[in-house]
């Protein structure tokens, strides 16, 4: 009986510690996951057919957070397109506020994306 109770307790703990489901297209480093809250990416198409991605980040910390964002654009085969749009960008997320990140695909060959979020200088 005691063993059963312990197992149930362990199972409950394991469930509570599971991280929230994150879109696989967002690659988030542990330091970002520990400090920021992320929305799922909203993906739409621009008038000219290119992909447009929006992600909202919340920085609930009492300090500004230096963020490094890199968006790789992938073609239909999953290969990354060579483009300046995949160069890292740096944003300083103000403390206690929401920030919207958005990215446009460089052309219509980009069918998918991978956005990597990391702390600058990490």
């Amino acid at each position: 009986m005691k063993r059963m109770g312990l197992l149930l307790l362990l199972a409950a703990c394991a469930e509570a510690q599971q991280p929230p489901a994150v879109d696989p297209r967002l690659v988030v480093t542990p330091v970002v996951a520990a400090n920021l809250l992320l929305s799922s990416p909203a993906v739409s198409r621009l008038a000219d057919g290119r992909l447009h991605v929006v992600v909202t980040l919340q920085n609930p910390q009492p300090a500004d957070f230096p963020l490094r964002v890199q968006t790789d654009w992938l073609d239909a085969t999953g290969a990354a397109l060579s483009t300046a749009a995949s160069r890292p960008q740096f944003r300083l997320l103000p403390r206690g506020t929401d920030t919207t990140l958005d990215a446009d695909a460089p052309n219509t060959r980009a069918q998918d994306f991978r956005m990597t979020l990391d702390a600058e200088g990490n």
Binding site: Q70, S86, Q89, D104, P106, N107
Partner: protein, 206 residues
Amino acid sequence: MPMTRRLLALGLATSLGACVAPPIPTQRVDARNDRTPVGLGLDSRDFEQAAQAMVRDMLANDRMQPRPDGQPRVMAISRITNDTTLRINTNELLQTIRRELSNSGRIVTTTAVGLDGPSDPLAAQARQLRQSGEFNQRTVAERGQMVAPDLSLSGQIVQRTTRVDGGMQRIDYSFQLTLTNIRTGIAVWEGQEIVSRVGDARAVSW
């Protein structure tokens, strides 16, 4: 006595060796994951960042649509002025812009027309082969094949240096570009990207 001298020489050599700093090893830099320190001047990351932001803004502009026949607009490069203390080859900025616009399929760049003559004079020079009996004339460019530009890209890079508190200086580099419709002379797009640095006031950026 000779032993003492030898010991003295050895001691001197050892102490001199200690004064020489160990060599800093040269490292390869991955441009896609460049986390090396920045200086007060501009480096390739700044040109990439500015070009990327301006191309994005250009492509988002409704007036940057392809021609009615579906062909991309043709852009010529006009004057880009470097108004900074840095020695800048403006191609560092322009090459990225040209490549990204070309890859977008919306705007291509002509190298046959430029402010100081064509950037690639061979396209015009190759027409002289029309008089040569050595060349198969079906492979020589015919008259009226070149496409005139619709758009002209001009601009400048401006620097502003200001002293700030704490013995620091702030340098703002402003990349300003304008796309003009050659037919009408009207600027159809104007963009500005600012790259800023704060650093020791005693440091120089050039």
